[in-house]
Amino acid sequence: MPIKTDAVGKEWPAVTYQVGREKIKEYAAALGLDNPVHFDVGAAREAGFRDVVAPPMFAVVYSGPALGPVLFDPEVEMNFAAMVHGGQVFEWGEPVCSGDEISTTPKCLSIEEKGGKGFYVFETVSVNQDGAEVVRGTWTNIVRGV
């Protein structure tokens, strides 16, 4: 059965995420980061940030949830049981600080079959409350045995 490609080019509604200090701390601690700008508002302000600043990979916390509805969309029809995360790209813009409201819009860039595997590539574009782009993510999921 050929792979279903109906969803290529489709965009889904934006999902918003409210960034908070404690969540940034929790994420930074899980990665073992020790720069006080991720933990202490005084240190963050001294370094020129509005508030406690997120580490770059905090992008998964605010942009990842936007992909939930995408992966369950029947037009995408992805076989989860055989899915692995094959590759990831993030390109960062404005730093993300506590108090920001981030809005993430997902889009399907491509669906292709190569060597019996399905390659599903999605893009997420995240902007802050001022409309400034904070991160652009490219997520490649590989499904074995399509």
Partner: protein
Amino acid sequence: MADFNAGDAVPELRVTPDKYLPHRYAGASGDFNPIHIDDEFAKMVGLPRNILHGLYSMGLVAKANAALAGGDPRALKKLSVQFRGMGMPEQEIVVSGTVKSVDGDRVVIDTVASQGETQIIKNAEAELEL
């Protein structure tokens, strides 16, 4: 600031995630896929044990690269990775990198993350603004 020249090795990051790290990372990231936090489930689907989140390992690659800028979260402009072998808790991860190119204040670092002989992240490319 340190001088960067193409071909130079950058300082390694060595981390041994403890047994409960995948649980803390699941809580921090919101990814509760049972292959990361349930050893029995992981074995049932054919894995050797519960495995690390790929995005945790990518987080360590980001950390190793941000460390080249003193941990400044503004320095990392782009990070591109491919996930390969599975990462395991309770085994040391070594993140190592080589300077690929230098263009003014833009430095590109080729990075890999390994556990023993297994590369868990390969072809990682980090663009830093220093």
